[in-house]
Structure formats: C-alpha cells, structure tokens
Amino acid sequence: MADTGHGADAALRIKALESLLVEKQLIDPKALDAVVELYEHKIGPRNGAKVVARAWVDPDYRKRLLADGTAAIAELGFSGVQGEDMIVVENTPEVHNMVVCTLCSCYPWPTLGLPPVWYKAAPYRARSVIDPRGVLAEFGVEVPETVEVRVWDSNAELRYLVLPMRPAGTEGMTEEQLAALVTRDSMIGTGVPMAA
C-alpha cells in the first residue's frame, strides 16, 4: 500500500490507524495525549543544558558523564526512549565533535527533545560526512585547521551528546547561569555556547 497521498490524507490515515489500535486496546488514547504533551512542552534542550552546566562546575560529574553518559544523565532525572545508550563526547581545544544520523534521525530525546527539521534533512545527513567543516561554516562555526573535527553517527542503539567547552569569563557564574548559555546546537556540535 504505497500511498504517497495528498493533503488531508495523512490526517485521515492516522485517524484510521489510531482508532483501530485503540479498539484493539494496543494504545490508550489518554496516554497518547500525555506523551505528545510531554514532548511538545516538557522535554527539550534545557535538559541537556543542565547536564552540560553540571559537568562544567563539577569535575567528578564530568568524569562520570564521559565514562557512562546514560547513568550520569539519569542522575539528573533524564532518561527514556532514545536516551537508553548515551555517549558524551567532549570538545577540547584540539577536537570539535558534531553529531549526525546518516540514516534517519536518531537523536537523544530525553536531553535534547525532538530533532530540528535540518537534522532530519538529506543535506545535513549527507554533507556532514563529506564536508563537515563546510557544514559547520554554514552554521557560523569556524573551526581552525589545527582543530580536528570528529563526526559521530547516531543510530538506534547509540546516541551522542556533545559536551561543549565552557566559555571564557564564566568563572563566577552559577550552574543555573551557565545552563542558560548552553544552546541546543552546541550540544549537537553545530554551534558553540553563548558568550558570557
């Protein structure tokens, strides 16, 4: 059934499927509304920002985060679908990391929410591998030739989160203030944190 249909067709198809699944008691419509509400309003990149800020102020936490991302992130209460096996990669003066999913859109939902449209688009998926520095430049991230760029391919079993470098001049800031500097893109590697 290769419907590539038009307009309202998708809405009709999902309505038909949902009503069948509800009837067969395979899903609960109330739980469905709750999960949508959760991802629309509660789960997003602010979760990841808290993880990053904690790693910046707490060296022990940073160590745990790099050793076992999933467990360290769960310490802050963030876990669930697409967050089961997390690897945190650290940016340093020598290495810049960026994350892509070359096949579809594997992405760490519990820490970053759902992926932005460009992450799901073919140009990013394909070009990040062929020309990562060019893609980064389009995002306004200039990586000097002396810095190695590492591209990580997320998949259904493993998802990556970038631990960006703490911006200069933030020594006196609280964890909360630091978290406010952490952008979504800085945790995908297509951006850097905001300046202090």
Binding site: L12, W118, F139
Partner: protein
C-alpha cells in the same frame, strides 16, 4: 539550514503519529532498532522516488513506516486499515474553506 528552533509538530496528525510510535514501543510492540530500520527504509525509498528529503516530509515517512510496521507485526491488517480509512473518510465533517454564517451542525 536554519539553526533556529522550529515547532515540534507542524500539524496535529504529526503529533499523533509520533505518540503512537512511542506508546507502541513502550508496550513492547517492536524494538527501537526495528523502528529505526522501518523509518530509514521509508526515507531511503522516498529519496529514491524523488522526494527532496528536506525534513519537511519527515512525518509522512514516519507515518508510512508506522503503517508498514504494524502490518508486518500483525497488529493491524491491510484490510482492516483500508476499511477503517473509508469509514473515517465517510464520517468526516465536510470542512468548507470559507466563512460560514450558519452552524455546521445543530444537535
């Protein structure tokens, strides 16, 4: 590629399709690897069929992957799905894209 935030779902059906996948997975209907394979398969097929694959059509692929996975897992049959679609279409309120001066229905 614009680095700025965009809405999570552009239309309500996208949110429904998303939620169904999450809940079915949580209920053990399929593994996440099976889901990722279904989704990337749809994306690849659409790309080969000329879809620009800009991310705008993403949830269409998501929906197609969901339909094919529930059929393969035997949760819903092809026939059931076809029949139900016709029923839903027949019962849908006629939506007219013009300003109405009278109520759509009076109960």
């Amino acid at each position: 590629m614009t680095p700025d935030a965009d809405p999570t779902f552009r239309e309500p059906w996208e949110a429904q399709a998303f939620g169904i996948v999450v809940k079915l997975h949580e209920a053990g209907a399929f593994t996440w690897t099976e889901w990722a394979e279904a989704l990337s398969g749809e994306i690849r097929a659409a790309q080969q069929a000329g879809d620009p694959d800009t991310g705008e059509t993403y949830y269409r692929h998501w929906l197609a992957a969901l339909e094919s996975l529930v059929r393969r897992k035997g949760l819903v049959s092809d026939a059931e799905l076809r029949t139900r679609r016709l029923e839903v279409a027949a019962n849908a309120a006629r939506h007219q894209h013009q300003a109405r001066r009278t109520p759509l229905a009076i109960g």
